[in-house]
Symmetry: C2
Subunit: 333 residues, 2 copies
Amino acid sequence: MTATHRLVRLARRPDGLPTPDDFTLVQAPVPRPEAGQVLVRNTHFLVFPGLRTLIGGETRDVPLPPLHPGDTLFGPAIGEVVDGPLEKGRLVLHIQGWREYATPAATECRLLDGTLPDPVAHLAQGSAAYGALTRLVEVRQGDTVFVTGAAGAVGTMAGQIARLLGATRVIGGTGSPQKAQRLERELGYDATVLRGAGRLGRQLAQAAPDGIDVVLDTVGGELLTAAVHAAKRGARIALVGALDGQLSPDRAGGSAPAVLDTYRLLTRGITIAGYNGMDHPDVEAEWENCFGHWLRAGDIHFPYTPVLGMERTPGALPELIAGRSFGASIVEL
Amino acid sequence: MTATHRLVRLARRPDGLPTPDDFTLVQAPVPRPEAGQVLVRNTHFLVFPGLRTLIGGETRDVPLPPLHPGDTLFGPAIGEVVDGPLEKGRLVLHIQGWREYATPAATECRLLDGTLPDPVAHLAQGSAAYGALTRLVEVRQGDTVFVTGAAGAVGTMAGQIARLLGATRVIGGTGSPQKAQRLERELGYDATVLRGAGRLGRQLAQAAPDGIDVVLDTVGGELLTAAVHAAKRGARIALVGALDGQLSPDRAGGSAPAVLDTYRLLTRGITIAGYNGMDHPDVEAEWENCFGHWLRAGDIHFPYTPVLGMERTPGALPELIAGRSFGASIVEL
């Protein structure tokens, strides 16, 4: 009798935002590793908004393959080596999430070497935030930094990183009072602005009376519009995400239009730069080193919302899109 | 009997776009220079879209003073010294346009020293284009450059400068087939896209089949939206003007909203930077040197539309806004 495991397939292309019915939890034989492949028993994998783009059919410019009905979902995962060319029992990071057993090529696995004290922290989405804040906008001592999507997987890391890099005042945008409270209490945000709770411009003016030096944007849309209006002379804006497009029922996840006042951008000498990780190949290792040090020193937290067990996975992306997680959303097996 | 001269005053704050009736041509005594002032007989002055902003009441962030009803208009001008501490007969550049005689302080006058072969060329708006192309986006050999408002005072210089700096393909956006023709015939543009002549995205895809490396934007609005869509990976966009706001009847000239796809900006690692001349104090002298060399070598043209005589000045700004000029609009006395 062959051992079986469970995995998650895309059942159909969602009509608008995905629902649990768009995904199927499938029972299948545990795969047998081919030559060069490793059999890995997954322990954790990431639920990330980019999946909305990959299943939505708007994947131009996206560095990951699109997902079609019948395809198994994928994404960053951590697991233990069971068989194959790597040492049994070692923890590896790979990209075959959404299944209990995976068979990545050994060359696609990264052996975890203890750089981070907690293996799950390898699923933290801090690298892009760190890269954007050190390469594109270069946060300086005394800066006021606004993180548009502060309670997301990137945003929860970004605010803390900005502070550790010298920001004096860190402001976060989010969609719920509960998240706003957690941002201030647990992650050291000085103030928050709340989407849907009155004019963002007025809220930002209160949260940052002297204006904003740096914006780390993971959302786009009206939060970015307001951020440009509150930006100081010479402000630097880094774009690292586009949740406004990925979480919107009206879009397929491959666009995120924001209305930006170009007159303001030029009179204030403001710069907006999109962060593409491929342009900064040295960031990842540098970030992990810093992250490890900061975690061990207790200077940074890695907040995530666990999704417990494979049974919950068909609803995991819809829950993420509905805003029910704080920090990263991680399936624990 | 006191000698008189003519000057142009703002009669009232325009309701929407200015009309000739919003300006008054006034007869007044020729001013007497006070201590430290120079009496200058103006020969040329510039009509520029920024006046729309100055008379519109939306002057936050603008480095020039607002204009109220009763105020005399002003702007870059060239004239001959008649009296005062500077040598009589010398040509000077100053900022008191829109009048036959001006009395700038000697310290506000620049003696023209022959850097440019034609004194009127000092009214060319090339400095911001040169600064943006050399400091913000650094045009390289082989670049495809798109100038959104190619037939304007800045745009007519920008396309030529981009070419001289190494651009291989230069594309211009404009609003009339006549201007498009002149851009290609007289200023060396390789192709043009025409506002109001079908989808800009499609036109741009034809004009730049391999995509755009550099955008020099003087317009904003839908031209910039389309430019972002046609931009290549790593494209650099410089904002040096916001005509879309200044020439629009719905706005007062102090804003120019454009819809930009932030998802595209980040997946393609695109940068947008607003050019503020005050951040680049060394640009002006460097530009004039280059401009002088290029003019003498016949490598660059300074196209402008003359407005002949003070009688025509009340209509000069409305004519500019209506798109009736090519290149700079310059009153000749």
